[in-house]
Amino acid sequence: MNWPLQCSRSASRSLHGQSHNVTKRTPLSQQELEEKLDDILVAALSSRRSAAAIAAGIAPLSRAQQDFVLSWAQVAAHNVAELGYQFTAQAPQALALLGQPGTEKWLLRALDVYDKQGLYPACAALKDLVGYKRGSDAAGEGVALAGVARVLELFLRGLSGRRLLLEAADDTWTDTEIIYLPGRIARYPAREQNFRLYKAIAVHHWAQARYGSFNIELGPVLADYPVPERALAWLNLLEAIRLEARMGRGFAGLAALLAALRPELPASLVPVHGRFLRADSSVADSVLLLREFYSLPLPEPFPYMGSLHPQRAAQVRGERIAKERRALYTELTQLRLKLQAGRAEAQEGEPELDAESSLETLEFELQADGEAVAPPEEVAKLLRSIIQDFGEIPEEYLLASGPGAYAAEAPPQGESAGGPAETRAAGGRLYDEWDFRRRDYRKDWCVLFESEALAGDPAYVAAVRARYAGRIAQLRRRFEALRGENRLARRQHEGDDIDFDAAVEAHADRRSGIEPSERLFVQRRRSERNIAVMFMVDMSGSTKGWINACEREALVLLCEALEALGDRYAIYGFSGWTRKRCEIYRIKTFDDSYDEAVRGRIAGVEPRDYTRMGVAIRHLAGILNQVEAKTRILFTLSDGKPDDFHDGYRGEYGIEDTRQALIEARRSGIHPFCVTIDEEARDYLPHMYGPASWVLIDDAGQLPLKTAEVYRRLTS
């Protein structure tokens, strides 16, 4: 489990930062410390091992240091309580020896060891304080990518709305969707400076995608030169100057960051920078200048520059363009229908779309028949991305005829699923499926079989519970709070307190001759939740590995939380192999309790075949609708890739069928909610899940904790 670590590690970093400002507060007493430690370390304490001794060690520290130790103890204990225990036991000594920042690093290193080698070596690392001190004196204040990746990824995503991932690699470059960069930077003595360099590398490579360094085909350009590598190096440098100049127009802070990190430009390049300041400078200008500069001596690359891999970048860009064009086409088709429906009088033909856009600001105005329309958010997002790849929105993208290159996948062929009687005999149920091309259902198209899920490792759930002990305790508390959400019931016959309003009213009533009410009390009551939730878990082959592992953990945490909450819940898995064999696996029915058998079946959740989502939604919505409850929720956990073997379910057909099934569920009074683990940020998700509410989790590692949190929010 990598992520809770990362995120909570820096949580403490900022706590620690803040504590500088509050050094004047009085230190906590040993008693107070002990209580806090009891809370944090509970799973590592026993009758023979209390928090008292540790509290005694921490009590003499300043309040700032105490806060520091407590916040980091929490982080360490999130991983496993024992680490928190070892850390707090050593902390006073570590602070004396290493200082606060040094102590932080010492713990972080131990947590890394824990991630990679496990608990025992991690404890050993913590205990070897002196050895660590010796080693760290020799090394500088490096920054690891893992510690800053999320912040930088969020930052880049904010800059232009596109997702860019950061990955550690030996060579620094970008394919326009992933930036490869060093796993660790220790070039400068201070952490802050090293972080700035990371940021500069990220920004520079972000800018290559943002301002279109790969928007023309560079291969032939380079091949024209006697030494293409030299031409590439020069182009890289010219582009670096251009990108910085471009950023200077809208992102003064970014341009300043880069300028501060590079040497003064040689005199020959200063006018180049000036030329690039124009709003419309593009990679074509760099290509032109390349002629001029190619034979001049090549300056040192700037510290934040990496290499260019035009071919690989072109490939990724090409795939993205194709994908986005298709997605836009689908979205615009919907938009056109909506616009057409909204037209005042019956106008002939489809609405004609037109757009003005600016690469500089990524703003655009979309017009339908000459009138401005506000596009849905998904369309806006796609258009902003498309502008980055073309510098504008290509006209043909807005034509109703659709992309020429768009090869519609053949619709599923063949007869229906076999006679009803035949199917029933085999224990299957028939379901209709939505065919978006026909705008109609294919009758009895899918055969669905429901069976009990196979059990897995009986020790699995216990292991997850142990690993997440701290988090589970926290979750349970939070969920219990939800359940115990005390509602004041007013105007009761009896209760804990007088209802003042009611009393006054009764008094007033009596005086004005109305018979006063006797309901004069307020009662504290647990609110009646009356929720039934169906969890539908993706067991398709595409979840294999990491995602599946996270799904299972998510289920364990959900069960733990829901047990505390008391909502009725069921868990079913789905998978399948063509429309004739759609499988639903019972993991926990509404009537099952969370017992040994259920736990075994959760452990047995594993990737199987394909993902025919529509039929699974229809079937499970049906089961859910039989439960008596005020609020019914269908909660899907999947990787958002509807797909099936060989019969055209993949792609648009499956997306539209899934969407339709969600619409049906919603119509029947169910609240569909979809949690998607999608590490590729596919663009059709908003459309497919449009009828439902949904969240995207782009790091599977977040799934276990996020899912429970999402559920909590959904029902509070």
Partner: protein, 278 residues
């Protein structure tokens, strides 16, 4: 609701003229909403305002009340709001029982515009009292008093609703929703938003433009860890701080980043975004 309650307890201050808006509240129209609202008012159809927090719904209502020269009665709904909080109740004043209209009854009597803010927060059994007012009957039954208030033509009911809630327990009932014409709000276009920030705070145009840009970047993070991006309101706050001498970056942190998230990495990322434009 708090102010309304205080009003309630002072039975003599029930003059709806107190709610009359004297000077024009600044409102920057962003689409056809003004005309739509006027048409709804003229047709006596109630209106539902949908949109994310801080995008100008309340300001719009104030502006429209001024425009139509109607008093405005605002109720912020919460889950303890009872029907009699809205309709009214008997109180004892100087040893006499006095009926005191609730804000809704007051608004009906005085032909005001009644704005029920965040209607989903109210309990469902409270919400139903507005039903007869919100359809063609336009009446408010006051059971306690045995009175049936008939709304004059100027009376108008407005609800606001933020669809950003993900909670299934806080969805508006169809029977409520379908009584209203909906006007959808979103953050204004960049140029308009900059003008709003500028007009509200007097900050220079360049800074207003940067703030708007910053807001757009935070909105890019919606769904990737943020539930909502920065609203116009937050930009106004940041500009106000800057007008009082706070430097741009700390102003953004205080007014925007910290208002959007508690996640330290997200906070750091938002601060970095501010540093890209300031």
């Amino acid at each position: 609701m708090r102010t309304e309650m205080n009003d309630l307890h002072d039975a003599r201050r029930l003059n709806a003229d107190l709610d009359r808006i004297e000077t024009e509240p600044y409102y920057e129209p962003v689409g056809g909403e003004v005309a739509l609202f006027e048409a709804a008012w003229a047709s006596r159809v109630p209106v539902l305002l949908k949109g994310p927090t801080g995008c100008g719904k309340t300001r719009f209502v104030e502006h429209m009340a001024w425009r139509l020269a109607r008093p405005l009665v605002t109720v912020s709904c919460h889950d303890d709001l009872t029907a009699s909080d809205l309709v009214g109740r008997y109180l004892i004043v100087d040893d006499q029982t006095v009926w005191v209209d609730g804000p809704l009854a007051r608004a009906v009597r005085s032909g005001s515009i009644c704005y029920l803010d965040e209607i989903v927060e109210a309990r469902k059994d409270t919400t139903v009292v507005i039903h007869p007012l919100a359809d063609s009957r336009r009446i408010l039954p006051m059971e306690k008093r045995g009175e049936l208030l008939r709304a004059p033509p100027e009376f108008m009911l407005i609800l606001s609703y933020n669809p950003g809630y993900q909670s299934v327990l806080k969805e508006l009932k169809h029977s409520t929703r379908q009584r209203f014409v909906a006007i959808e709000f979103d953050y204004p276009r960049p140029d308009l938003e900059a003008r709003i920030v500028l007009t509200e705070t007097g900050i220079d145009a360049a800074t207003a433009g940067r703030l708007v840009k910053f807001a757009a970047m935070t909105r890019n993070l919606k769904g990737s860890g943020l539930d909502e991006g920065a609203s116009t309101r937050l930009l106004v706050h940041a500009a106000q701080l800057m007008q009082r001498g706070v430097a741009a970056r700390p102003a953004c942190t205080a007014a925007v980043s910290l208002a959007l998230s508690d996640d330290p990495e997200m906070l750091a990322a938002i601060d970095e975004l501010a540093s890209a434009v300031f």
